[in-house]
């Protein structure tokens, strides 16, 4: 892998799996915001385009001791991206303050190396031309371009909202980044000034979005030193920006491939905290 880029601002999520009921509002909000085309038959999941999927988790116990949890899975926005390192045309990279992994679909040649590399199955190949029922194209947002078949797509943390939030500051004459006495950039976007569509829609407040480097942000407070926090496949070293939190140990153990006698680990035990 290439050298990891560190940014002063690192947008990230804390997804509370004790709050998620698996309703799917986040999935629909994501599609509507990012102009994903609907599909009449969405039963074959290998042909369905979804940037965000809610998975069902089970504690594996028989009735009546069974428990269920739901896990929304956007792109994990890895700091060590398995995807970007294999892209032959630099259609995906993490090269902007904020740490969001880009997806430049006009540059994508559809080779799908990135899909094979992504351990989170967060990337989707566009098997079909995006077709909306007649007239429904009028409900497309002007913020995200439509993608043709033959390219790979993924969640961008609603990057256009990041750009809009920066524009709001610029029109007010406020610098987006200021250099503080610690020498680091600090982002002037207020905590609720940039929120992803999925986080915005969730009435349960299960998805918390913000700057993982900013101690004033709720997302930072939720994941820093929280023994209930975990990241998916932590030990791969991808250093993702999506944290999950749950008070249930069986949920946390499903985040990685633990052997039966292995102790459930915490993010800080596995990777040095660099942000």
């Amino acid at each position: 892998m290439s050298a990891k880029k560190e940014f002063s601002v690192k947008w990230g999520m804390a997804i509370d799996l004790d709050k998620c009921t698996g309703c799917g509002a986040c999935m629909v909000a994501c599609q509507a915001e990012n102009n994903l085309a609907p599909q009449a038959d969405a039963s074959n999941k290998r042909r369905v385009m979804n940037w965000l999927v809610v998975y069902e988790l089970s504690n594996g116990k028989a009735f009546p001791d069974h428990e269920v949890a739901y896990l929304p899975r956007p792109c994990q926005q890895c700091a060590e991206q398995p995807c970007a390192t294999v892209c032959p045309v630099v259609a995906t990279e993490r090269n902007e303050e904020g740490g969001i992994v880009s997806q430049v679909t006009p540059r994508c040649i559809g080779c799908r190396y990135c899909m094979a590399a992504c351990p989170y199955h967060a990337r989707y190949f566009n098997w079909f031309d995006p077709i909306w029922p007649k007239g429904m194209e009028k409900a497309l947002t002007p913020d995200v371009s439509m993608r043709p078949r033959g390219v790979v797509e993924k969640c961008t943390f609603c990057h256009h909202r990041f750009m809009q939030a920066k524009d709001v500051l610029r029109t007010k004459g406020i610098d987006v980044y200021t250099r503080a006495v610690d020498g680091k950039h600090h982002c002037a976007i207020p905590e609720n000034g940039y929120v992803t569509s999925c986080a915005e829609a969730c009435p349960n407040g299960a998805i918390v979005f913000g700057d993982l480097n900013n101690p004033a942000h709720k997302v930072y407070q939720l994941v820093t030193g929280n023994d209930n926090a975990f990241r998916l496949l932590e030990r791969l070293g991808t250093d993702t920006a999506v944290y999950y939190i749950s008070s249930r140990e069986w949920v946390r153990r499903l985040g990685d491939n633990y052997l039966p006698d292995e102790e459930t680990q915490k993010p800080q035990q596995i990777l040095p905290k660099k942000h």
Binding site: M27, F63, G150, G205
Partner: protein, 687 residues
């Protein structure tokens, strides 16, 4: 040789091949059929979802006047997020299933298009001809359109105005039978212990977004740090759930008490008995009779009848007793067919807990008001049972308003047969649903954001609330509103209903509610009225409860049927919205076959395994399905999701599984006048 080597090195070093590749990539993506972004100024408007029955306040983003997104509203008593259904509302404006202009059944069985004046003339003729022999069915409980329907019906001498079955109807009938002139409200905001029995609070019961916002506020994120000595904060309110399926509410409720479907009222009586044993009483004239009835429901008997774990139940009752503001909410896991008796039993439990009209308790709200002189009160419409009427009555004319009884009532095939016997049927509908497809005259009405409408105290709210939703966008289809069309026809027929348009009626209603200005309400403000009415003259009606709350009859080898509802699957009126198809999980559908759920012990008992093709047989109808072994289902129970099996609407809803309503038959609930269908049993066999 030198040239070849030089050329190779040159090709490797030059950016030309990469640039060409980049260009090829870009230009092979420019196709005329791929939509381009249409830019424009963003504006925002407030509305309330009329598509989502849970009453969701919304902020609509428009770009150059085109609605493109539904956004949540935080500052609203019913707001705080979106449901999987309401978030897709603007896309539904362009659903292929929409009715675009008035349609009249032709001699060849197909539809011919006509304009509104011609359609109104036919409607007027048919209404004049049928007169008092006209029946109306409304699928929207909270709109003032119902006043127009009932006043119009009265004007032509008919009192046959029905609602589609709902939880609100069960609660209204329960209140009336207990001698209460009130609408049940639930102060979830201030409750510190909520026990939901069958009521899928966080997905399909009542004011869903509000319920979920309250859940968010009362349940802090689990932060724990051994190093810093931080312990996890306990939730400010307990949410316990009793039901047959580990549904969206059960997924986060602590604890989940599995019970048999249809046994919600029996469990409530068992809890009442335990509370009485602890010395709790209710100030009601017939309390002794109730006490005697409840005494039969000992913990052992309740465990036998409902399948509940007695220890878990005891812990829940202890929790209720210790709580400052406990609240018990009873409902149906699929939002209908529970009858009034379980709600009456729940009221008794709440009364025993001493929480009637107390903060965090069960609130008796003044009944919804009427502004139209001849209109029938909502409770009057609720009192009429559609499921039993539709099989026997023979009106000359049936008028549907946003109602799809052919899909949503038990035994849809019989309902369709009953409708076919009605000489003329009219459907005011946004979508070409199963019922509209059977009608003789289909009249397109706008979606909620295309028309001015209102919402008055949707079932489940915590106090009276009144909202207005303005027309945010003009419809592309040739639509009218049901109320305005009927008011127009009324004038043509020489009837004066007191108002010329629905807008006038809404303005009058707003005046009733604290003299509010229409424009203020249309900008997203909700009127809240916290007044309550006293439980004077309360009767617990053990006479009715004793007869109505009986364990469902079931053949020895049959399984209990547990339908469950998900808002992402849409409603009977909308079908599955195009953007919601993808929320179906892998395994929910196998091609066109739907999945039903059983736990491993039940499947094993029946000699079945995961993936088996099954037939579910009610004795009258049967449906095919595929088995998914899921441990979150009660023993001897098969769980089936509502919302599949549409035969009308559009490609996003059709050819997906079967309609579970096919398996259900409505039975009379003794003493209440309602029908029930939550206690259905089915024979399950391998296909």
């Amino acid at each position: 040789m030198k040239f070849v080597a030089g050329a190779s090195a040159g090709i490797m070093a030059t950016p030309v091949p990469w640039k060409l590749l980049d260009d090829v990539s870009i230009w092979t993506q420019n196709w005329s059929w791929i939509p381009r972004n249409q830019y424009g100024e963003s504006t925002y408007a407030h509305a309330v979802s009329k598509m989502d029955p849970s009453g969701v306040p919304m902020r609509i983003r428009l770009v150059d006047g085109r609605p493109v997104r539904v956004l949540p509203v935080e500052d609203h008593p019913l707001g705080g997020g979106l449901t999987a259904l309401s978030v897709a509302e603007v896309q539904m404006l362009y659903s292929p299933g929409r009715v675009k202009r008035p349609l009249l059944r032709a001699a060849d069985g197909g539809f011919t298009e006509l304009d509104w004046p011609a359609a109104a003339k036919i409607l007027q003729e048919k209404l004049t001809e049928a007169g008092k022999n006209t029946a109306f069915i409304s699928g929207d409980e909270s709109s003032s359109t119902n006043e127009v329907l009932s006043a119009f019906a009265k004007g032509i001498g008919s009192d046959q105005v029905f609602f589609m079955p709902s939880e609100g109807q069960c609660a209204s009938v329960a209140a009336r039978l207990m001698g209460l002139e009130a609408q049940f409200g639930y102060d979830l905001e201030k409750s510190d212990y909520v026990l939901a029995i069958g009521a899928n609070l966080l997905e399909s019961w009542g004011t869903v977004v509000r319920n979920r916002r309250i859940f968010k506020e009362s349940h802090p994120h689990p932060v724990r740090s051994a190093a810093k000595g931080i312990k996890e904060a306990a939730p400010m309110a307990v949410l316990a759930y009793a039901g047959s399926v580990q549904n969206n509410t059960a997924a986060v409720a602590r604890p989940w008490l599995p019970i048999y479907p249809g046994s919600e009222g029996l469990l409530a009586l068992g809890i009442a008995n335990m509370l009485i044993a602890k010395g709790r009483v209710v100030d009601a004239a017939d309390f002794d009779a109730f006490k005697a009835l409840a005494a039969k429901f000992t913990p052992e008997e309740v465990a036998r009848l409902t399948g509940v774990d007695p220890k878990k139940l005891e812990a829940v009752v202890e929790g209720l007793l210790k709580a400052k503001a406990p609240l018990v909410v009873v409902g149906s896991e699929f939002g209908q067919g529970a009858g009034a008796a379980p709600l009456m039993a729940a009221f008794a439990v709440n009364a025993l807990l001493g929480n009637i009209n107390r903060p965090g308790g069960l609130v008796l709200m003044p009944p919804a008001q009427t502004a139209m002189p001849k209109a029938e009160a909502r409770s009057g419409m609720y009192a009429k049972d559609l499921a039993s009427w539709i099989g026997t009555a023979k009106p000359a004319l049936l008028v549907l308003h946003e109602a799809n009884p052919v899909y949503a009532l038990p035994d849809p095939e019989s309902v369709a047969a009953a409708l076919k016997n009605i000489p003329f049927k009219v459907s005011f509908s946004t979508f070409m649903d199963e019922s509209a497809a059977l009608c003789d005259l289909v009249l397109p009405i706008g979606m909620g954001i295309e028309r001015t409408d209102d919402m008055e105290s949707p079932y489940g709210c915590g106090g009276s609330v009144y909202c207005v939703t303005p027309a945010v966008v003009e419809a592309e289809q040739d639509v009218r509103s049901t109320a305005n069309a009927l008011l127009f026809v009324a004038r043509k027929m020489g009837m004066d209903l007191g108002f010329e348009t629905l807008m006038d009626l809404i303005k009058a209603k707003a005046q009733q509610y604290g003299k509010a200005k229409f424009d203020v309400l249309a900008s997203g403000k909700a009127l809240v009225d916290d007044r309550t009415v006293g439980p004077r003259g309360l009767k617990l009606r053990a006479d009715i409860l004793g007869k109505a709350l009986q364990p469902a009859a079931k053949a020895k080898d049959a399984l209990c049927l547990a339908p469950y509802a998900k808002l992402s699957m849409g409603t009977a009126k909308t079908g599955i919205p195009p953007y919601n198809n993808k929320t179906l999980r892998a395994g929910d559908l196998d091609g066109t076959a739907m999945t039903v759920l059983m736990n491993a012990a039940t499947a094993s008992k029946k000699g079945m395994a995961n993936g088996d093709r099954l037939l579910l047989d009610s004795g009258r109808r049967r449906i095919a399905a595929k088995l998914r072994v899921y441990e979150g289902v009660m023993n001897d129970t098969v769980a089936v999701c509502l919302g599949f099996g549409h035969t009308a609407l559009d490609e996003f809803s059709q050819n997906k599984g079967a309609n579970v309503m096919e398996l259900m038959t409505a039975a009379a609930e003794p003493g209440t006048g309602l029908s029930v269908w939550t206690g259905t049993a089915v024979a399950v066999s391998k296909a």
